[in-house]
């Protein structure tokens, strides 16, 4: 037989590739012993650990095995008031008056200590939140350190960011952060606030308080003046008390759109400023001329990164019809190589769902998708008995009007739709109340510019997805919120800017 070109083939006989290989990876667990978690945490107010006035504590668990990791204090209204007063006092007496370069030194010091304690922070993040150790080690912790480094640099250069303007800090910032990137979101909130001369009361999410509390001990080690950053823990009521406190000048919130709306109602008519970073339902758009295998990676990273608990997750995939079949085959092959399981294993790609509540939400949406008539595909994988798990899930034959296309699921569930023309996909991609992010995959430069101009989303990635940099602003359109975090843009929400 001379050349392939003369061979007869029977397409029906081509078998799918087999990824259930004889050669398997042995477990490679990171050691939990390398991290120190206290059995109980109080509230970090005025530079000291304090018992909560509420007298109450709640358990924080490891979502991968449901074991209790620690007991955490519940801050009530009085505790919130103590924290805000400490922040006000520190602002008036110390932080506002400090030379900007000195403030920068503290922020640099925090960044360096985060780097020194990177391994421990990564372990705690993974134990408390369920995300794979590879992600907390390679993404969450280094990116958090980078954010502090970046804003430390701005502290004494604000007049270059806003030339010819008079700048004043706002005062006390109340900051409420979500459970998907606990340490990183704390960094996103605290670093720009400190660099611009504000003081902070931060409330982490109730399921993932541990790295924020570890950060409190880092702030102590950095010798940050008492009260400049206060960290209080608790659930929704604690957050509400912080939002409603009359002496808070600014609310920065990252979380769900429904809570964002409550916050906006609550502060309406006050002179509190706010930035809200809310939900999303990003479109990831693959054109027929795209580098398909790299697009597959981007799609996988877009929806399965951090179990899909990402506000900018690429949860709607739009495939140009001519490549849809091939692309879905590639995607199915790819997800059968994803390793789901123990988040502490260095080889794990998809860890545990953050909480039972969130797992129930995801499972409910999977049922909805099935009822709506979409075809479901999940790779064969064995899940641990204890803990909260959801395999990577693809839905094909999905319609634009399906709820799984329209509503944020916040889990590893991808809705796959098709399109024919550029205009059609722009209309469909924008056909959502959200507008946080989008992705465009094409080999054609001019198409990228056309798409980025017309997509109504705060971030549009071209031939990549879920890329973050402290120097790049991040934030939403429409119900995905307002205000920008990161970059030079991230300074202005913490400044009073007068000409």
């Amino acid at each position: 037989m001379a050349k392939t070109a003369s061979k007869q083939i029977n397409k029906a006989k081509i078998k799918p590739l087999r990824f259930d290989t004889d050669w398997q990876y042995d477990p490679a667990p990171e050691s939990a012993a390398a991290a120190q978690i206290e059995p109980e945490y109080g509230l970090f107010i005025n530079g000291k650990w304090q018992k909560p006035d509420s007298g109450q504590y709640f358990d924080t668990i490891n979502p991968a095995n449901e074991k209790t990791l620690s007991r955490i204090a519940v801050a009530n209204e009085k505790d919130v008031d103590r924290a805000v007063r400490a922040a006000r006092n520190a602002h008036e007496k110390v932080w506002k008056k400090m030379a900007p370069a000195e403030r920068g030194k503290y922020i640099f010091r925090i960044a360096r200590i985060i780097q020194e304690k990177a391994r421990e922070l990564a372990i705690i993040e993974t134990l408390d939140g369920g995300k794979p150790i590879r992600e907390s080690r390679d993404f969450d912790v280094p990116t958090a350190a980078q954010h502090f480094f970046y804003y430390a640099g701005w502290a004494d250069k604000l007049n270059y960011a806003f030339p010819q303007k008079k700048l004043n800090p706002l005062g006390v910032a109340g900051q409420i952060i979500p459970w998907n990137f606990p340490l990183l979101m704390a960094a996103w909130k605290i670093a720009p606030a400190l660099a611009t001369g504000n003081t902070v009361v931060l409330k982490p999410a109730e399921t993932t308080s541990l790295t924020a509390l570890k950060l409190a001990s880092i702030l102590q080690e950095a010798d940050l003046p008492p009260g400049v950053v206060n960290i209080i823990t608790g659930a929704g009521a604690t957050g509400a008390a912080l939002v409603e406190h009359p002496d808070v000048n600014k609310i920065a919130f990252t979380g769900s759109t429904s809570v964002g709306k409550i916050i906006q109602r609550s502060i309406a008519g006050t002179n509190k400023r706010s930035t809200l970073e809310l939900g999303g339902k990003a479109a990831n758009i693959v054109f027929e001329d795209a580098p398909l295998d790299q697009a597959v990676e981007g799609v996988v990273n877009g929806i399965f990164f951090n179990q899909g608990h990402v506000c900018c997750a690429g949860s709607r995939l739009y495939l140009q019809e001519s490549i849809a079949k091939e692309f879905i085959r590639k995607l199915k092959d790819r997800i059968s190589t994803l390793i789901v399981g123990d988040p502490m294993d260095k080889n794990t790609d998809i860890g545990a769902i953050n909480s039972k509540e969130q797992l129930n939400t995801i499972l409910r949406y999977i049922q909805i998708g099935k009822k709506e008539g979409a075809a479901i595909h999940q790779p064969a994988c064995s899940l641990p008995k204890k803990g909260f798990w959801c395999p990577p899930t693809l839905f094909t034959d999905v319609a634009q009007s399906n709820r799984i296309t329209q509503e944020e699921i916040f889990g590893p569930v991808l809705a796959i739709l098709t399109f024919r023309t550029d205009d059609e996909v722009i209309e469909k991609a924008n056909n959502t109340p959200y507008g946080l992010s989008a992705g465009v995959w094409t080999d054609k430069g001019s198409r990228i510019f056309n798409m980025t101009r017309r997509l109504r989303a705060g971030v549009v990635w071209a031939n990549t997805f879920n890329k973050f940099d402290a120097a790049a602003p991040f934030g939403g359109y429409k119900e995905s919120g307002f205000g920008r975090e990161g970059g030079l843009h991230g300074l202005s929400p913490y400044l009073e800017i007068n000409s």
């Binding site: 050349k3 397409k11 590739l17 295998d293 080889n347």
Partner: protein, 306 residues
């Protein structure tokens, strides 16, 4: 005739699938994050050893040198029981007969470079004669080089026809087509050359001669593995992969195995479909196998160089 049965028609090679370099590099880096421990490491080291094409391609090669290499191929390290042999030895055509005799009955293949290796700058007639000579001397496998000049000039039909002609001259011998990716300049061109080679009849595609830097890299190999996968799904034909040059440490070889496992899967995980073209890799693998067996590293002085 069944409706599914069709003839393989070569595509327009000017329009091969685009490759995004940044994306490929990111994906390749991800494979290096897999942690290979304990029994999976031992299994992998044995697999790597068994996939090596032990190579000598020097102007100063002699019969005696080739015989020594053949003995090493059959007896990598006699102190270690139950270790596999390498897959093949790879030599110039004029040493094929010597190697064939030395390896008789061992099951180890003899691969011969041909076609005016390594530059490929010669006439078709000479390349065909070179190939026929290697095969008549007993080569089980032929490693040819493509005409990179013609490829860069856009003469894809010339490159295709040349590979097809060499394939014909190979007869029963399996043909590995060396793209010399270090001279191709972009991953798009690596992808294009891979497709030309496969459609023209390559049994294996191979990165490099080992004479040009850079030789094999993980991104380049990934592009070729993905081309192999797409070709398989289009035609049902399985094509092998051989990264060659620059892989001298076990750890790197394990990263390649991870990449192979997660790109092509089970059916490619043997030396029938995957090879490492290397000379110094074998001893590093042996050193690691010994360490896994006894718990201690042994000095390089205990491992024969040839």
């Amino acid at each position: 005739m069944a409706g599914n049965s069709t003839t393989v028609i070569p595509p327009d090679f000017r329009r091969t699938a685009p490759v995004d370099q940044t994306g490929i590099e990111e994906r390749a880096a991800r494979f290096t994050k897999r942690s290979i421990k304990q029994s999976s490491k031992r299994q992998a080291l044995n697999m790597v050893l068994n996939m090596i094409d032990l190579t000598t391609l020097e102007g100063k090669d002699t019969d005696q040198k080739v015989r020594q290499l053949c003995y090493k191929a059959m007896h990598p390290h006699d102190e270690l029981p139950n270790i596999p042999t390498v897959a093949a030895i790879c030599v110039y055509p004029n040493f094929v007969r010597v190697a064939k005799k030395a390896l008789d009955g061992s099951g180890i293949k003899v691969a011969s470079v041909a076609t005016a290796f390594p530059s490929g700058q010669s006439t078709r007639a000479i390349k065909l004669a070179d190939t026929r000579f290697a095969v008549s001397e007993g080569a089980d496998e032929v490693d040819m080089v493509i005409s990179r000049g013609k490829f860069h000039a856009g003469e894809y039909n010339f490159v295709f026809d040349e590979i097809a002609a060499i394939k014909e001259a190979c007869g029963q011998a399996r043909l590995k087509v060396i793209l010399e990716t270090g001279e191709l300049g972009s991953l798009d061109k690596v992808r294009r050359a891979s497709e030309i080679a496969m459609y023209a009849g390559a049994d294996f595609i191979k990165t490099s001669t080992g004479k040009i830097q850079p030789a094999a890299t993980m991104p380049v190999t990934l592009v070729m593995l993905e081309a192999i996968r797409d070709f398989y799904y289009k035609t049902g034909i399985q094509v092998g992969m051989k990264p060659a040059g620059g892989i001298s440490k076990s750890k790197l070889a394990l990263h390649y195995l991870v990449m192979l496992r997660e790109t092509l899967g089970q059916d490619w995980m043997s030396n029938e479909w995957f090879r490492f073209g290397a000379s110094s890799l074998a001893n590093d693998v042996l050193m690691q196998i010994r360490k896994e067996t006894t718990g201690q590293y042994q000095s390089a002085a205990y491992f024969s160089v040839d």
